[in-house]
């Protein structure tokens, strides 16, 4: 298992290399000039040339790429063209914001999705099954921005139960240590702020959870249905084990592999793809950071941001693969 893990981590190198080449080529293919964006509508042609020169954008592309990669190997993620701040300094806050939101969203998605899937399979073709699957279908197809605005309108504006936007109330000060506000508030022992952070996480968490929740529910149901037809389940039932035990112990364990795969993929997707949720809920996350960077043609931020997300994505998949072995003793990595 150790050797396998190391091999997988080594495989990361060609993957990330590929990603970097791809990202680099794509962003230089899109029209639009960062110098123009920096200088704004008021720029003169001379000033644009000047700035391009200072940013090194007049260099041949290949040279630009190698300069960037060279810096990367020394741990330098580059400097944002827009904010002129080193990316390594500013990216962590955004990343933590998104990770915290993704964590909550996946918690909701897994808890509700897996259970809904199991129950649907258990009461196959019952009305619960039908309703759950219709809801799941709506869940995968619902536009997030619409759902988000509706959540805000109902739960914040009309009912006043939950705050509509942001990670905290604007006037709350949090000493950022880890940038995970759930952890930071606990470290400070500030439970009022902790509750506030939790309440701010619910609406965006639910909005972000809908799609993975629906996918997980459908996947769990399908996988469970298959397993529940197996002989060993019939045997378990014949032995007189309670339905609950049969379903949650025997069937789920065998049905969980495809579900795990889906969970891993979805978690990775959420990390990079929470842009709509982040926009609606004023969430200062990595999706918006990269999106703004694309708008501003902030090349270093786009490159480093995507590389970091790709790295995390690969690691999540590695963890999922390792989990297979933990869940299913038949799977062994050498």
């Amino acid at each position: 298992m150790g050797a396998y893990t190391i091999r997988r981590i080594l495989l990361l190198i060609p993957v990330l290399f590929g990603v970097s080449v791809l990202v680099f080529s794509i962003i230089h293919l899109i029209p639009g000039n960062p110098a123009q964006v920096i200088l704004g509508q008021r720029a003169t042609a001379d000033a644009i040339l000047e700035v391009e020169k200072q940013l090194g954008l007049d260099q041949p592309l290949l040279l630009q790429y190698f300069t960037y990669m060279g810096d990367l190997f020394t741990g330098d993620l580059g400097t944002s063209l827009k904010t002129k701040t080193p990316i390594s300094e500013e990216i962590w806050g955004y990343l933590a914001a998104t990770m915290e939101l993704t964590f909550v969203a996946m918690l909701i998605a897994i808890f509700v999705g897996v259970n809904a899937g199991i129950i649907s399979a258990w009461f196959h073709n019952s009305w619960f099954d039908y309703i759950a699957m219709v809801i799941a279908l709506i869940g995968v197809s619902i536009p997030i921005f619409w759902l988000g605005l509706m959540e805000q309108y109902i739960f914040s504006v009309k009912l006043g139960w939950l705050p509509s936007t942001g990670r905290t109330d604007p006037s709350t000060t949090i000493d950022t240590v880890t940038n995970f506000y759930l952890i930071d508030t606990l470290l400070q022992g500030d439970f009022k702020a902790f509750k506030e952070v939790v309440s701010h996480l619910i609406l965006p968490g639910v909005a972000l959870a809908t799609i993975p929740m629906a996918i997980i529910a459908r996947m769990t149901r399908a996988s469970m249905l298959e397993v529940m037809k197996a002989d060993y389940i019939r045997t378990a039932r014949a032995k007189g084990l309670s339905s609950f035990w049969v379903v949650y112990k025997h069937s789920l364990r065998n049905a969980v592999i495809p579900v795990l795969t889906v969970i891993g993929l979805q978690t990775g997707l959420l990390l990079g793809g929470a842009i709509l949720t982040e926009t609606i809920f004023g969430w200062p996350g990595i999706g918006r950071y990269i999106y703004d960077a694309i708008e501003a043609r902030d090349y270093p931020v786009i490159q480093s941001g995507i590389l970091i997300i790709a790295t995390i994505f690969v690691f999540i998949n590695l963890i999922v693969d390792l989990l297979y072995a933990a869940v299913d003793p038949r799977i062994k990595y050498k």
Partner: protein, 556 residues
């Protein structure tokens, strides 16, 4: 089997409601208190430890201002971006400032000034006893230090050149020298007269920064920790989240500012921002969708505040492309084919006025005698036939992909224009691209016809007419590539004389010429609106788009 789903569903619903109730409990207290107005707000205030000791009367309260984007920087000279100025106007002060809601010149850090007859020497007498937030004295040396810093910069560091023609050593640079003749007197010597010089000095980018802080921190850190003389001191900046400013207790203007604290927060989506205002999470929002104005007006707790217009949205015709639009007669004909009033009704919720010339009426030199080309498709058709196009022609009409204050919905406005052009026989194919490329291609003159606009920088006519339509500005902001030597001579003359009356006359002539040649169909001057809680008072939006909240207060 059949009954169990019921039970489970009940159980799940129960659990879900528990979760919701659990959360709602945390929120209920402040939420309820807000509805019961006065006593409630005080209660909310007292919950915050820092303010609990002070009696309610003496606290000026906190204003939470939500906007669509974060500032890019907090050292105002490093950018041209409006969200930066909105914040830095509170931290920094320029030598001069504008009138409360116009662009007349008013004293600020300089209390008096004197201009020599040849327009080359400006002598400023500075306010005495002003201190920067870090305790450094504000004096003539500080002013010189700031100008030396900017004049020795370059385009990537400071967009200083856009207003003063270049940097030290450049041919076009207007300023010869800036000298401190005594503790409180600064003398600017110009190489040649620059008519809008005083208006330029009043702009937000030219706020005076503390030399000590700049020396100690260096430019990069200063950009994150700005130190000026303004009514509010910088406290904290969490990017894309919030910027916190607190009252400067030693502010040189007696009794100001009224607020204790201002927090600028970011909510990118217009509808979500309005939701946050309606829940009371924030006190004031900008960037309201015109279609949402009614919702705010219907809410008894909210108010609409108008920002005087200093912009223009226009339909530009690139005049040097190989198509019928190079003929002024055709452009005049098409000017009769744009239903401006309908556009304003439909897309600006009435918060705009039809434009007939380059600049809005709030700018000195506006020519009100120009008679706009009336909307008249029949006449347009006749004129097109006279110009030799009885069967019309085909062009590409480009619209911007992002909402701008002057064109809130580019695509829909373009569709209306497309239809009314179709009525006169002209086929307009709608095109768009992303914003960065849009500007680039427009500048390069690659569009037949396009929607674009402009928000004034310093409230001077030169900043509209010369910047947008002079032949010198081709390649920067004259996207129509319209070049008229007669116009050019007038505009250059107007740049060099300092008598405002005379300048106004020249600009009126200039507008006549432009009207005749019709490189644009000026569409609208829009009135951006902000929405605020009724408890917010004294917030006076400035036409430039950024203003300090010095006089703003929030009632308990």
């Amino acid at each position: 089997m059949k009954r169990k789903p019921w039970l489970l569903l009940l159980l799940l619903t129960f659990m879900l409601s528990l979760v919701l109730i659990g959360c709602s409990n945390d929120e209920e207290e402040p939420e309820q208190s807000e509805e019961t107005e006065e006593p409630g707000e005080t209660k909310e205030e007292t919950e915050e430890p820092t303010e609990s000791e002070e009696p309610a009367e003496s606290t000026g309260g906190t204003l939470i201002y939500a906007r669509g984007g974060d500032s890019t920087a907090l050292d105002p000279i490093t950018t041209t971006e409006g969200e930066t100025f909105r914040v830095t106007e509170n931290i920094f002060e320029s030598l001069l400032t504008y009138g409360e809601q116009d662009t007349t010149i008013q004293p600020n850090l300089a209390k008096e000034w004197d201009v020599s007859d040849d327009g080359l020497t400006y002598t400023f007498t500075l306010e005495e006893g002003v201190k920067f937030h870090d305790g450094t004295d504000f004096n003539a040396e500080a002013v010189v230090y700031n100008f030396e810093r900017w004049m020795n910069g370059d385009a990537e560091q400071f967009p200083y050149y856009t207003m003063f023609g270049g940097y030290k050593g450049d041919e076009g640079h207007i300023i010869e020298s800036v000298e401190a003749t005594d503790e409180h007197t600064v003398v600017f010597t110009l190489k040649r007269p620059q008519a809008p010089f005083l208006k330029n000095l009043a702009m937000s980018p030219f706020g005076i920064a503390s030399p000590t802080a700049l020396e100690e921190m260096g430019a990069e850190e200063f950009n994150q920790n700005p130190v000026g003389t303004g009514p509010f001191k910088f406290v904290e900046w969490r990017r894309e989240e919030r910027i916190v400013l607190e009252k400067n207790p030693d502010y040189w203007k007696e009794g100001l500012p009224k607020l204790d604290e201002v927090i600028y927060t970011v909510i990118p989506d217009n509808s979500a921002r309005l939701n946050a205002l309606m829940t009371g999470e924030v006190d004031l929002i900008d960037g309201l969708n015109p279609s949402d104005i009614q919702r705010v007006e219907d809410d008894p707790n909210l108010q609409i505040i108008e920002r005087p217009s200093m912009n223009v949205g226009y339909l530009g015709f690139t005049v040097n492309r190989d198509n019928p639009l190079s003929d002024p007669a055709v452009r005049v004909a098409l000017s009769h084919a744009v239903p401006k009033k309908d556009l304003i009704e439909a897309f600006y919720a009435g918060y705009a006025e039809p434009a007939k010339t380059v600049m809005p009426p709030s700018v000195e030199g506006y020519n009100d005698e120009i008679e706009d080309y009336a909307y008249d498709p029949e006449l347009a058709k006749e004129l097109l036939a006279e110009a030799g196009y009885p069967d019309g022609f085909e062009i590409d009409l480009w619209y911007m992909p992002v909402p701008r204050p002057y064109i809130p919905e580019g695509e829909k406005i373009a569709e209306v224009i497309q239809q009314s052009f179709a009525q006169v026989g002209v086929t307009a194919n709608l095109q768009t691209t992303d914003w960065a490329s849009y500007i680039e291609q427009a500048t390069a003159g690659e569009f037949d016809a396009f929607l674009l606009g402009w928000t004034g920088d310093n409230g001077d006519a030169d900043n509209f007419i010369y910047t947008l339509l002079d032949k010198d500005s081709i390649g920067s902001n004259n996207n129509t590539h319209y070049a008229n030597d007669e116009l050019h001579d007038i505009l250059i003359e107007a740049q060099t004389i300092t008598d405002q009356e005379q300048r106004n006359e020249l600009y009126k002539q200039a507008q006549e010429i432009i009207h005749k040649d019709a490189p644009w169909v000026p569409l609208v001057h829009s009135t951006p609106v902000v929405a605020a809680k009724k408890s917010v008072s004294g917030y006076v939006p400035h036409p430039t788009g950024s203003e300090a909240v010095t006089n703003t207060s929030i009632s308990e």
